[in-house]
């Protein structure tokens, strides 16, 4: 209680508020939710610190000026009250002085709300309207990539493999919402042969809206898993939103990941499945997975392609194969395809192996769903090593399913049976532990209370022959 009160008046309080706003991407609701559940404002940033952007610096300066003004006013009122012997003024002065942390924590969101409703949203609406016309008039093959996971990976694979022989443009990084699509449209030159658009769904109706704006000609659905359930509430609701892409395309030219179990019940005969066994008549064989890459072969009508990729994880074979098959469909040469596949390398924080102190870490911290956990553990099981260490904080945004998801996660970890499991202590840890216990896990279990210390000292823990899989990220705005 004392530490909570004193933390309100600490010199770093304005910076902490700016950090909280920045970490919630300046969204008022999650910021306020975080603010009201915080007990100690000296103990907020565990994962990173304030990125001193222009906006962040302005916020900190604004808060400091506002707080300083309120303190001055409070002191003036207090002094006047004392001089005039007015008890009410004295109390009022004290109230002004004591209330500044709470008042400015809320006042600071007003400019954000005003700017959002009167400047940002109208501007965004105009940009999206313009982009609708650009997409409609563009003659390229437009591939939309949707799903609960694997979207960015699929987009990057398409860009790398198709881009070897065709003019291809794709939405940048994980910019995958309507306004990002609009900005992307503005940068199109008009001579692209293939356009790839990633759909970052987060709430019911998102995918249908994105499809209406971007007018895709091909749809790829990468998988279904519990994600953003705080908004979708149920997996079924998320599935309906993602599959609205198929509705837009009249159920034609829809490619669907056949290895995503939850998707299977929504599969229709008109959809084209892809997996690590086959796609579009191509048979896949000779799969070899190593810590530094994979090899596989594809065969159709007597034609055989032997392919090497820098990616790791058997679950990516299906995606690579789909890209190869689509590349053939749109007329890429075998040479371009082989070179393109060879150029595929792990993306940052996604199944990205890195040598450290003689051992390897596999950074999959951008994964945020149960399916990703499943394939990550599958990879960890498949690789040879002296000691296998699995590290996770759990999954965020699992809504009402959180308990079941994390218990299942614990069981999956137990099944993979790593030598050591490190869990970052938070509100879901006990559910993962329950799953580990019910799965009969007998290895070493460590509950880490200081995640940042752990992540920054991995080089002290790892040695030659070790593989450490790091999955999921748990930012400070989640408890």
């Amino acid at each position: 209680m004392i530490s909570r009160i004193t933390s309100f008046f600490g010199p770093t309080y304005p910076k902490t508020l700016a950090y909280m706003l920045q970490s919630t991407e300046y969204q008022v609701k999650p910021y306020l939710a975080w603010y009201w559940r915080t007990n100690n404002f000296n103990d907020v940033s565990h994962r990173r610190s304030l990125d001193k952007t222009r906006r962040a610096r302005l916020l900190v300066a604004g808060l400091r000026i506002g707080i300083a003004l309120q303190i001055i006013v409070g002191i003036i009122v207090l002094i006047q009250g004392i001089q005039k012997n007015q008890v009410s003024d004295i109390y009022f002065g004290i109230a002004i002085l004591l209330s500044y942390p709470v008042i400015w924590a809320h006042l600071i969101v007003i400019p954000l709300l005003v700017a959002r409703f009167f400047i940002v949203l109208p501007k965004d609406r105009r940009a999206v309207k313009v982009s609708r016309r650009i997409f409609e008039e563009h003659g390229a093959i437009k591939i939309a990539v949707a799903g609960s996971y694997g979207k960015t990976t699929m987009k990057e694979l398409l860009l790398t493999i198709l881009g070897e022989g065709k003019k291809v443009a794709a939405t940048p990084a994980n910019k995958n919402v309507a306004i990002s699509h609009a900005h992307f449209a503005k940068k199109l030159r008009g001579d692209e042969e293939v356009i790839i658009i990633e759909y970052g769904e987060g709430a019911p109706g998102d995918v249908a809206r994105f499809a209406k704006n971007t007018k895709p000609t091909i749809g790829i659905i990468t998988g279904l898993a519990p994600a953003h359930l705080d908004r979708y509430k149920t997996l079924d609701s998320a599935a309906k939103d993602i599959l609205s892409l198929a509705d837009f395309l009249n159920e034609k030219n829809i490619y669907i990941n056949n290895e995503s179990d939850p998707l299977k019940k929504y599969k229709k005969s008109s959809y084209t499945p892809y997996d690590q066994n086959s796609v579009l008549g191509w048979k896949i064989s000779d799969i070899h997975v190593r810590i530094d890459g994979m090899s596989f072969a594809m065969e159709k009508n007597g034609q055989k392609l032997s392919l090497q990729s820098g990616l790791i994880g058997r679950h990516l074979i299906g995606s690579l194969a789909l890209c190869v098959a689509l590349a053939k469909e749109i007329g890429c040469t075998d040479r371009d395809i082989i070179v393109g596949v060879a150029k595929t390398i792990p993306f940052e924080h996604r199944m990205q192996p890195r040598e450290m102190a003689g051992g390897y870490i596999i950074d999959d911290t951008y994964n945020g769903n149960l399916e990703g956990v499943r394939v990550g553990l599958q990879l960890l099981s498949e690789l040879d090593s002296r000691r296998k260490i699995y590290v996770t904080p759990g999954l965020v945004d699992q809504g009402k399913e959180s308990m079941h998801v994390h218990q299942e996660m614990g069981r999956l970890i137990a099944k993979a049976n790593p030598t050591k499991v490190v869990l970052m202590k938070n509100s879901v840890t006990h559910w993962i532990c329950d799953g580990l216990a019910s799965g009969g896990y007998k290895g070493e279990l460590v509950i880490e209370k200081k995640p940042l210390d752990f992540y920054t000292n991995i080089n002290q823990i790892i040695a030659a022959g070790d593989i450490m899989m790091l999955q999921n990220d748990w930012t400070d705005n989640y408890k």
Binding site: A357, N457, A463
Partner: protein, 389 residues
Amino acid sequence: MKTIAVIFGGRSTEHDVSIVTALASIIKPLEVLGGYNIEPVYIAKNGAWYWDKKLKNIATFQSGEIEDFMRKAPKVQLSIDDGLTLIKSSQFAGRKQYKKIDIVFPAMHGTHGEDGELMGLLEMANVPYIGCGVAASAIAMDKVLAKQVTTSAGIASTPWVWFNAVDLERDLKGTLAKIATLQYPLFVKPAHLGSSIGITKVNSKDQLLNALEVANHYDNRVIVEQAVNNLIEVTLPVLGNDDPVPAMLEEPLLKSEDFFDFETKYMQGGKKGGKKGGSSKHGSQGYSRIPADLPKDLYNSAVETGLAVYRATGCAGIARIDMLIDSKTKKVMFNEINPMPGGLYSHNWNKAGMSNVDLVEKLILLAEERWQKSQKITTAFSTSYLKQF
């Protein structure tokens, strides 16, 4: 929770290396390991002892803040009554702070710390400590004594002679005559220093006197060794008490005219030597190849020699054995022992599959195991001797 004191610094030319070993290679992994209360104990260059949590921070030493700290901080006193206790004035009304130490992790390099002096104090206090004991440390840190012990155990060395500083003053001619029995090039070394400090490679007679002067500047005992032809220099970190286990045989990569001096080890990131290809990497102490690129038989022979040296000199806990190989004759020769390798040679242990955390944890277990064994040794028995008087 057990309290572990990490002692570093000291009256030694390797004072700064000791700080880095303590903070980066011992305290950091101990913090990550958890389960211990870590007390950093710093011995200044003038021999004064300080104990403060602030001393865990490398910036204290890099920024020069340590000078200010030493002006203000109380010096530490030691009590060795029933274990080791650190005592310092709390600066309030003459009160004193006491900290009972359960285990000591000496991170000392060179004189007055790695050479057995500190270990003697810890033996008197009867506290478990990491690393070699008094005798092994003293032998290891005296290159002459180490050669004598290993030679008597049948372990080969390159031809060598030794003398005291006083011999140079009183009988220069006789000393030079002793050296003349060796073939050039020679290495002139102070007998007690580590980290290659004060070592000179002498290619001809006219360089000899200068080299002897340099070595005498650092030490009162000097050893002169004949250089090995077709040299491959290797080093082997070893861990254990009665059943020592080797890490990987490591090959510092040097040009033929170079040797692994202080500059190469610590100051240039090992850039002095040339890369010969293969999977060579920067170690914490320079540019080296792990494992050494040797034929299997020669590799195994060097590992066996290293382990034989470790046993013959009575090492315990951890040490690093340096050896010289004549690549033509395939002869492996003992060169030196380092009873507290800089940075614990953790880069090599990492390659051997032991993480930094595992390494410090294992060293603590070995220290406790050795201490428990020592408690079973009878050190007193009743006699009627005094009644005779």
